[in-house]
């Protein structure tokens, strides 16, 4: 995570950048085009109204929290029952069942601190994160980020794009000249919007600025998304060549790159006709740890793909969607292009490839 920008943002927004990348993998993108005026109106209307669940969720939070949201003194340790930012990070973010309550709480924090503009702005930005990244309510997310004058341009651009305005998304994303996200959220968004060239340009720029491993990994994913496998492999190999910098060994990115290369190689040689009937297991890295699938092959067909073990929590639907697409299309190559190269669904494709590679 980039320290220079993080200093300007609240802790919560940061986990937002992390999640805004992973979130979309779950939902298939049935996207509606809207004009700028429509999107602006949509954001305004949603932002000024209460969500429909508002009255059914109680305002509830630890009474020990310091409601003035005073930054804890350096070295004071981690206390989730006292510091609001730490409570959000450790309790709200980690529990989907608490997300709505978290939004309600943040509204309350903004209200309590209405005479302290800095804290209020921080609460509004946190609302942007909770609505957009957690609750996938992009209109309200955009509203509160705008209101909090957020610098999370990637998050805002993602909201605009999902709400239907590529024009607004591009305008916001143009401000991003460096992708500080661990998973290359901005690079990924350019690719999603049908702008692979701009995606790769941002990746190169980011790599030049020093964030090589995540940038090249994202560039590889962009190429893979557009079916340019040779170029993708070149980028992934660049990830593997990045030297260790201080205490950063880029292990996570290198594991993902290695798995991606392996999967692409299996694509080229995969011949279901040569695989005997049976059930095979394969494991690949995902967000939070290894993900294992069990692939059953019967009569030269992939009969089923089942995720046996994984540690990813909030994005389960990738797990059923990706597996059923593999069975539906009897191929890994097409999945790659349709589901998109997001971490969880990538891990499923990679693990399946490994399982089939083992089978031969």
């Amino acid at each position: 995570m980039n320290r220079a920008t993080s200093a300007l943002m609240s802790t919560v927004i940061f986990s937002g950048a992390f999640m805004s990348h992973a979130g979309p993998s779950a939902t298939p993108r049935a996207r509606v085009e809207r004009s700028r005026a429509d999107v602006v109106a949509l954001i305004e209307k949603a932002g000024r109204s209460e969500p429909e669940w508002w009255d059914s969720v109680p305002l509830d939070y630890p009474k020990t929290l310091d409601m003035t949201w005073t930054p804890p003194p350096r070295g004071s340790g981690w206390n989730t029952q006292k510091n609001i930012g730490q409570y959000l990070w450790s309790v709200i973010n980690e529990n989907p069942g608490r997300w709505k309550q978290g939004a309600k709480f943040m509204h309350h924090v903004a209200e309590v601190n209405k005479d302290r503009p800095d804290v209020r702005r921080q609460a509004w930005n946190s609302l942007g994160h909770i609505y957009a990244d957690l609750l996938q309510d992009h209109a309200r997310g955009a509203y509160w980020w705008q209101k909090g004058e957020s610098r999370n341009m990637v998050g805002l651009a993602d909201c605009y794009w999902r709400l239907g305005s590529k024009e607004m998304a591009v305008a916001a994303l143009r401000h991003v000249s460096f992708d500080g996200d661990r998973y290359g959220a901005a690079i990924r968004l350019w690719a999603d919007m049908g702008e692979p060239r701009r995606a790769l340009a941002l990746a190169e720029k980011t790599a030049e600025a020093g964030n090589e491993a995540p940038a090249y990994l994202s560039a590889g994913n962009v190429c893979r998304l557009y079916g340019k496998y040779d170029l993708a492999v070149e980028y992934y190999e660049k990830v593997l060549a990045v030297p260790t910098q201080g205490n950063r060994d880029w292990k996570f990115q290198k594991d993902l790159a290695r798995a991606a290369i392996e999967t692409i190689r299996v694509f080229e040689t995969l011949d279901l006709a040569k695989i005997e009937n049976g059930t095979y297991e394969g494991t690949s890295m995902s967000f939070a740890g290894p993900l294992t699938v069990s692939v059953t092959v019967a009569h030269n067909r992939i009969a089923s793909v089942r995720v046996l073990r994984h540690k990813d929590k909030q994005y389960y639907s990738a797990i059923t969607e990706t597996t059923s697409k593999i069975v539906e299309q009897q191929s890994l190559r097409d999945i790659d292009a349709t589901t998109g190269a997001t971490v969880t669904s990538d891990a499923i494709v990679n693990a399946t490839a490994r399982a089939l590679a083992n089978a031969r």
Binding site: A7, T11, W89, S90, V91, N95, G97
Partner: protein, 566 residues
């Protein structure tokens, strides 16, 4: 008398086809209900066996559906027919129980055929008859000669009823059907489980179980002293039915044709024929074996006088029913044992986790007949009998042992088979809302909390059961120079959400089985279910769902007050 014994016993078996058939059918039905209907493992999850649960979504219901499907006849029907079970439970618990209808039915039947329950229906009686047939040579004609033995059972009955008046239920220890049910549940059910599901699934034999088995085996063993020893001298359920005998005009009559051959006295299993060959009304069960063996057809069973009674001997002693000494003894023993159990011998140890939907503890102990039916119907043996080490007041009553197994979320069997309503027959939606305890995390033992290692067994288990009562908190987060958390640092540790916890104990089972038993990382489960005040809500009537809904509205109201307070 002695040389005609074997002939008569054999004739008895041959010549009572109807009674023997009814007995065999009843015993078979009893065994079928206990070992097939109450065998929970015929249930399997399916897309059809689901239901809507408020605030929890669609949840599986296969165990509940499976029992309902198999229960064309209620599994606990024999317990409901034992008149003492319902009468004593109703008195002790000061409640109405549906099983009273069963008692009434048996009472009415008793007016038509006195003590038909004992000679036709009671599976314990049939079992003892079988034992007696096997041991016929040993026992024929034997009886305890000392005066007054026949009234011991009345003393037991008086003790039970007086105990009930004082709010303590003693019938479970001595009433016929609870005794035989418990015997089968503790002796044969583990064999069934072991053979069909593997011996590792059989809970270990505890002191309480062993005690129950020894006492149960004593019953047929006493049969070597005399036939139907238990029924003649001990059984208070039979004693209660004997009182009904006194109300009915139907009884055994002996005509002048009697030649005093004594065959009837030899054949009678119940010692119901006096020295003058007249009937001891309270003891006669209308089995009519004497009628069968009478060589001169002098015996009849009717309302009208068969013939003028003709005493053979001048036997003017008072009916043996109320032997004064025993009555006085019982009148003292009943309340004393009742009060002793309640205030003295009760251990008062940690509150036990009771089955979901159990009545409040005092009412529960006053209505639970310790029959073991719930223990039988419980999948994975979540319920275990309380042993004597917990105090005698709870002996053999069911408790949840979550180290062994957690309460299956799709099951409400225990309440459905409870004969007295000590465990309420809750619908599955209610059962899922009924709180039997609260889980508590021991942060000094819990792996993430104590050592920062990853473990989410309890959270996964709770989520799979759709209670979602255990959440995560990321602990041990590292911060950078500006005080911002560093992505990916720290571990997720479990935190309780008490308002959603029902105390099923699934979390405890997982933690104990894997972390403590298999991996030996900790000595005991780091998450445990606690019962008692504030941890459980046990209501005599009314809806648990309503209770949860009320709590939810209160939380909303408190939230609104908080919002408006600024």
């Amino acid at each position: 008398m002695a040389n005609s014994t074997s002939v008569n016993s054999r004739r008895e078996t041959v010549r009572q086809p109807f009674r023997r058939c009814v007995q065999v059918v009843c015993l078979a039905l009893f065994v079928y209900l206990l070992f097939f209907v109450c065998w929970p493992y015929s249930a399997a999850p399916s897309a059809d066996a689901v239901m809507d649960m408020p605030h929890q979504g669609v949840v599986p219901a296969h165990y509940a559906r499976d029992l309902a499907r198999k229960e064309a006849i209620p599994a606990e029907v024999f317990l409901a027919l034992d008149p003492l079970v319902s009468v004593s439970a109703a008195i002790a618990g000061r409640i109405w129980t549906g099983a009273l209808w069963g008692a009434l039915a048996v009472g009415v039947l008793g007016l038509l055929i006195p003590r038909a329950f004992c000679s036709y229906i009671c599976p314990l009686g049939t079992t003892l008859d079988m034992v007696d047939l096997c041991a016929a040579k040993l026992t024929a004609g034997k009886r305890l000669r000392e005066r007054g033995w026949g009234s011991v059972r009345f003393a037991v009955l008086v003790a039970v009823l007086l105990g009930a008046v004082f709010g303590v239920l003693l019938s479970g220890f001595v009433a016929a059907i609870p005794v035989v049910t418990r015997g089968m549940v503790f002796i044969l059910a583990p064999v069934q489980t072991g053979l069909l599901r593997g011996w590792h699934n059989v809970p270990p034999v505890t002191a309480g179980v062993a005690l129950s088995i020894v006492l149960f085996l004593a019953i047929p063993t006493l049969g070597l002293v005399s036939r139907r020893f238990w029924c003649r001298y001990v059984c208070p359920s039979g004693a209660l039915l004997s009182l009904v005998n006194l109300l009915t005009p139907r009884r055994r009559r002996v005509s002048d044709a009697c030649v005093a051959c004594g065959k009837c006295r030899t054949v009678c299993s119940f010692d119901a024929i006096r020295d003058d060959f007249q009937v001891d009304v309270a003891a006669c069960t209308f089995c009519r074996a004497c009628e069968d063996v009478c060589p001169v057809e002098a015996i009849g069973f009717s309302c009208a006088e068969f013939a003028a009674p003709r005493p053979r001997q001048a036997d003017a002693r008072a009916p043996r029913v109320w032997a004064r000494r025993q009555f006085v003894g019982a009148a003292v023993a009943g309340p004393c044992s009742a009060l002793g159990l309640r205030y003295g011998l009760g251990s008062g140890a940690l509150p036990l986790v009771r089955p979901p939907g159990s009545l409040p503890e005092r009412e529960f102990l006053a209505t639970c007949v310790r029959c073991g039916e719930c223990i039988r119907a419980c999948p994975n043996n979540v319920l275990h009998p309380v042993g004597p080490e917990q105090g005698l007041d709870g002996l053999w009553s069911p408790r949840v042992l979550a180290d062994w197994s957690g309460c299956e979320p799709s099951c409400n069997n225990c309440g459905q088979v409870c004969p007295t309503g000590a465990i309420r027959a809750l619908p599955l939606t209610e059962k899922r809302a009924a709180r039997m305890g609260l889980a508590e995390i021991d942060k000094a033992a819990c792996l993430p909390w104590a050592s920062g290692s990853e473990c989410q067994l309890c959270v996964d288990e709770c989520r799979a059961a759709q209670y979602n009562a255990i959440e995560f908190e990321r602990i041990g987060v590292e911060v950078d120079d500006e005080g911002f958390p560093i992505e990916g640092t720290g571990v997720l540790a479990p935190v309780m959400v008490p308002e959603r916890c029902v105390g099923c104990g699934l979390c405890q089972t997982r933690c104990y089985r894997i972390n403590a038993k298999a991996k030996r990382l900790i000595g005991a489960s780091a998450i445990k279910i606690h019962a008692g005040v504030g941890c459980e809500d046990r209501i005599t009537r009314g809806s648990y769902l309503d209770l949860r809904e009320r709590e939810r509205r209160e939380r909303l109201e408190r939230g609104r007050e908080l919002e408006e307070s600024i």
